[in-house]
């Protein structure tokens, strides 16, 4: 059949000249990408950013070189083999069908490229996913439409993210409502904040400064403002020298403890739990608690357990702190918050609850059966 009758073809000088020109252009583009001033537009704030940029340079250089060759040949062939005015209507091109050698090479070439790229990507990916020990663990929580953060030994959620230069950080991200995303372009890293799920990545800050955090997963009306433009609190991460970080951390820890001390004082004054209004409690629950607790059975865990029957559940006679599930003990947890191996819950101040609110909430929880 026709395959066997393919004419033997020779590439002319013009073809090789064009190839040489394209090769030079491709080389220039490769050199450009190797030395492109990426960091002058977007600083690299963490160690992983340098590695990801290296991968990007590799991808961009090879991609551009490939693109130059393909488009160059398309352009050259289109012009060189264009039908001229004098060509007869029934003229045909060179009747070749295939060339096993050529096809073998151009299947092998992308295969090799893919293998190299896969190995390159895997190495960097491994560094991002696998955290070393001894890291500072920070938790970021997405809300509509701002971020809050939790630090070890700091009560409640803080509104700014500070990281010490040179200290390895493990970042846990999650959400209290819809899916958000946590992207710091200067870090080249991103993870979606999914309600009911904790995503993790690891990095070490290498450059001091203030960097923008951007949400890239559609999260509602003000999604477009969920970066430094947010109306609630501008989303920045501050990478500080260790000393400045330490003083910020100490100050924050103190302030948050003050807040909980105030509650401690309040809780000494016994709450009178009777006379609570379950309907007000239900509204409060929807506004303040439902991000982490369902009104459903215990197993409906969001962040904490479902609270239906919290005061009357034979399967769980004790509360998380080991006390008996009485209204008084529930009120105590609402006042003081909870911190333990299972997780933590903010205290009265962090949740913005008055004593009256707590009474109403307990009254509401009693009705959940």
């Amino acid at each position: 059949m026709p395959e066997n009758r393919d004419p033997v073809v020779h590439l002319d000088r013009q073809f090789w000249i064009v190839t040489a020109v394209l090769g030079v252009l491709a080389l220039i583009s490769i050199f450009w990408w190797v030395w492109a001033p990426i960091t002058s537009i977007m600083p690299e704030a963490v160690d992983k950013a340098q590695q990801i940029d290296a991968l990007f340079r590799f991808l961009a250089a090879s991609g551009t070189a490939l693109f130059i060759f393909i488009c160059g040949y398309i352009l050259y062939f289109s012009l060189a083999f264009r039908r001229h005015a004098g060509t007869p209507e029934n003229a045909v091109g060179i009747q070749i069908h295939d060339n096993n050698k050529l096809e073998f090479w151009w299947t092998l070439a992308p295969t090799v490229f893919v293998v190299i790229m896969a190995i390159f990507s895997l190495r960097i990916w491994y560094g991002i996913e696998v955290a070393p020990s001894n890291t500072l663990v920070v938790e970021a929580i997405g809300h509509q439409w701002y971020y809050t953060f939790r630090y070890p030994n700091v009560n409640g959620e803080v509104k700014e993210m500070h990281l010490p230069l040179g200290q390895a950080v493990t970042l846990h991200v999650t959400s209290s409502d819809v899916i958000h995303s946590f992207w710091i372009p200067a870090m080249r890293l991103k993870a979606d904040m999914v309600p009911g799920l904790i995503n993790t990545f690891e990095f070490t800050p290498t450059r001091q400064g203030r960097y923008e955090i951007i949400c890239t997963e559609f999260c509602g009306l003000n999604h477009g403002l969920m970066h430094s433009g947010t109306t609630v609190n501008p989303a920045y991460v501050y990478i500080d020298p260790p000393a400045r970080y330490a003083s910020w951390y100490a100050r924050t820890e103190r302030e948050q403890i003050h807040a909980s001390n105030a509650i401690e004082a309040a809780s000494t004054s016994e709450l009178k739990l009777n006379g609570g209004e379950p309907r007000d409690g239900a509204k409060l629950f929807a506004a303040k608690c439902s991000a982490c607790h369902a009104a459903g059975p215990f197993d409906q865990k969001i962040v904490g357990p479902g609270l239906r029957g919290v005061l009357d559940d034979p399967a769980h006679p004790n509360l998380v702190d080991g006390d008996k599930a009485t209204p008084e003990n529930v009120a105590k947890i609402l006042q003081n918050g909870f911190k333990g191996s299972m997780g933590q819950m903010p205290n009265q101040a962090a949740n913005g609850l008055s004593n009256k609110d707590i009474v109403n909430l307990v009254a509401y929880l009693k009705t959940l059966k």
Binding site: M42, Q51, I52, S78, P110, D177, G224, L225, K301
Partner: protein, 551 residues
């Protein structure tokens, strides 16, 4: 010559349902694959006008960093319906229902598809579904993008009632696609003319052949996801609601298990079109026929195994990210082989620079760029940076507009005579091509760096530092729109005023060009026998039994 198949009697392809009489049965509820194909095209182009208007609303809104044209709420509705329209009501119907129906049965020498009545039903599910999608504006259109990720697509988190309508509309489209897939697959498997072996099928038929199983399998999975979303919204069935134990990630798995193959549903038929147009206008056999055909199969199979690469940042288990990354990169190999083969097809040809050929060549350039950025995104570390930004918007428009839509426009100019018996105006066509090419690249090229620098997608307002490049994109998008208006005007105008084409204006060799234009109801008086692939331009035609077709 010895290769004519043994069952040369013609078999099933000999039989045809009687030609219906009367306007309604002939042009409205027709069971003729050609009429149905044209119905699909007209409907889809109408929806393209609507979707295009929404696109321009988006670009006008983004002229200013502070927005201003629309409230964020309206803006979210607009881009969600724009995406849904373009994917489900324009590109997929045009490529499968439209060009697929119109051309491939003739190319395999059949007189109709296997189940003509089912074909009619497939089409008639499509306009109602489209109208339902637009009717959702009346009750508050969906706002969470064409992907409608829960929890944003649940009313408790701010979604509109119309989201259920959206789910129902897309479900209907899905049923229609599934039926089309079954129909096409059986047709290609069972109704080829005698001698039309798999390696003699035109490459457009190959495109449809590998797309049909994708339509059939993937779309059903989408149906399941949409049904689950619908009952979650309407009856509180806790599939996706995280507060009740459901999983938002489950939706992403179910959705992308469809929507990644859907990407190939949207590009494989376009690959087929390009593989017809390039050899015809180069007067040269397609280079590496078998590699092009088999690489389509490879892409289709791999396409089912890579869906989670849309979820690298969503919280996919690390052990799963690795295989998905590597499998995704593997797709670069068959795709690369195709592109190399197409470029080599140009070499040594006698190239007729018609408008169809210009669009095909433009396709090569822009699709290559879209493909390359696709490989970038397969690398997880790069995806961690680019995911959810305008880089994605750029990438997906490069493959869907620079790929699929360019292919569609090439096909429109190429096969227009087979619908109308007339040629589209070449001069207008070339103007349209250059405006489109410039407008398209001007619109979407800047989005690559906008995304890299930090502009997230699906935002109604953005950081003012990006305003200049957004304005560039918007201005060029007007050019692109003008080009598309020019194409549609050309198609309308040429229906009456175009030059008469005769049966084979391009000197092409596949079967549809050997019968009159427009194609007669029965396609072939005699079902021909086939004894070679259709691309040997120096040889006589490889068919027997066509002598009476043009008399």
């Amino acid at each position: 010559m010895t290769a004519v198949a043994a069952h040369a009697g013609g078999g099933l392809a000999d039989h045809i349902h009687p030609e219906p009489q009367g306007f309604i049965r002939k042009y409205v509820f027709s069971i003729d694959h050609k009429i149905i194909g044209i119905q699909y095209m007209i409907t889809a182009f109408l929806f393209m006008i609507l979707g295009g208007m929404l696109a321009e609303l988006i670009r006008v809104q983004l002229m200013k960093a502070s927005g201003g044209l629309m409230t964020p709420e309206t803006y979210n509705e607009v881009y969600s319906v724009h995406g849904s329209t373009m994917v489900w009501l324009v590109i997929i119907p045009l490529l499968t229902g439209g060009f697929g129906n119109l051309i491939f049965p003739v190319q395999i020498g059949a007189r109709d598809v296997a189940f003509p009545w089912l074909n009619m039903l497939s089409f008639w599910l499509f306009p109602p579904a489209g109208l339902m999608l637009y009717a959702s504006f009346l009750m508050g259109a969906p706002t969470a993008g064409w992907t409608e990720y829960p929890p944003m697509s649940l009313n408790a988190y701010g979604a509109h009632d119309g989201t259920s309508m959206w789910a129902a509309a897309i479900f209907l489209i899905g049923v229609s696609s599934t039926m089309t897939g079954i129909n096409f697959l059986v047709t290609i498997l069972k109704m080829r003319a005698p001698g039309m072996t798999f390696t003699r099928m035109p490459l457009f038929v190959w495109g449809q052949f590998v797309t049909a199983p994708l339509l059939m399998i993937a779309t059903t999975a989408l149906g399941a996801a949409l049904a689950a979303l619908f009952v979650q919204r309407q009856f509180g069935v806790a599939f996706f609601d995280p507060t009740r134990g459901g999983s938002p990630l489950l939706w992403q798995h179910m959705f992308w298990f469809y929507s990644h193959p859907a990407v190939y549903i949207m590009i494989l038929p376009a690959f087929g079109m390009i593989s017809e147009i390039l050899p015809t206008f180069s007067r040269k056999p397609i280079f590496g026929y078998k590699m092009i055909a088999f690489s389509s199969c490879a892409i289709a199979i791999l396409g089912f195994m890579v869906w989670a690469h849309h979820m690298f940042t969503s919280g996919l288990a690390p052990a799963l990210q690795l295989p998905f990354m590597v499998l995704t990169m593997l797709i670069a190999i068959p795709t690369g082989v195709k592109i190399f083969s197409w470029v080599t097809t140009l070499w040594g040809g006698v190239i007729h620079m018609t408008t169809a050929m210009l669009f095909a060549i433009g396709f090569l350039a822009t699709f290559t760029l879209g493909g390359i950025t696709g490989v970038f995104l397969a690398a997880v570390p790069f995806d961690l940076h680019a995911h959810g930004t305008y880089f994605i918007v750029a990438h997906l428009h490069y493959v869907l507009v620079g790929g699929s839509l360019m292919g569609i426009l090439a096909g429109l100019f190429y096969w227009y005579p087979k619908m109308s018996g007339r040629l589209m105006n070449e001069k207008l066509g070339k103007w349209a091509f250059w405006l489109f090419f410039i407008g398209f690249n001007g619109t979407f090229l800047p989005m690559h760096w906008l995304g890299m620098w930090g502009q997230p997608r699906r935002v109604a307002v953005y950081d003012p530092q990006f305003q200049a490049w957004n304005q560039v994109a918007s201005w060029f998008s007007f050019v692109m729109t003008a080009a598309l208006i020019l194409v549609l005007f050309n198609a309308l105008w040429s229906m009456r005023n175009g030059k008469r084409s005769g049966p084979n204006p391009w000197n092409a060799r596949t079967l549809e060009w050997q019968i009159p234009s427009p194609m007669p109801y029965y396609n072939f008086k005699h079902v021909p026998s086939v004894f070679a692939a259709p691309y040997d331009f120096a040889e006589p035609l490889p068919y027997r039994g066509l002598e009476e077709e043009l008399t």
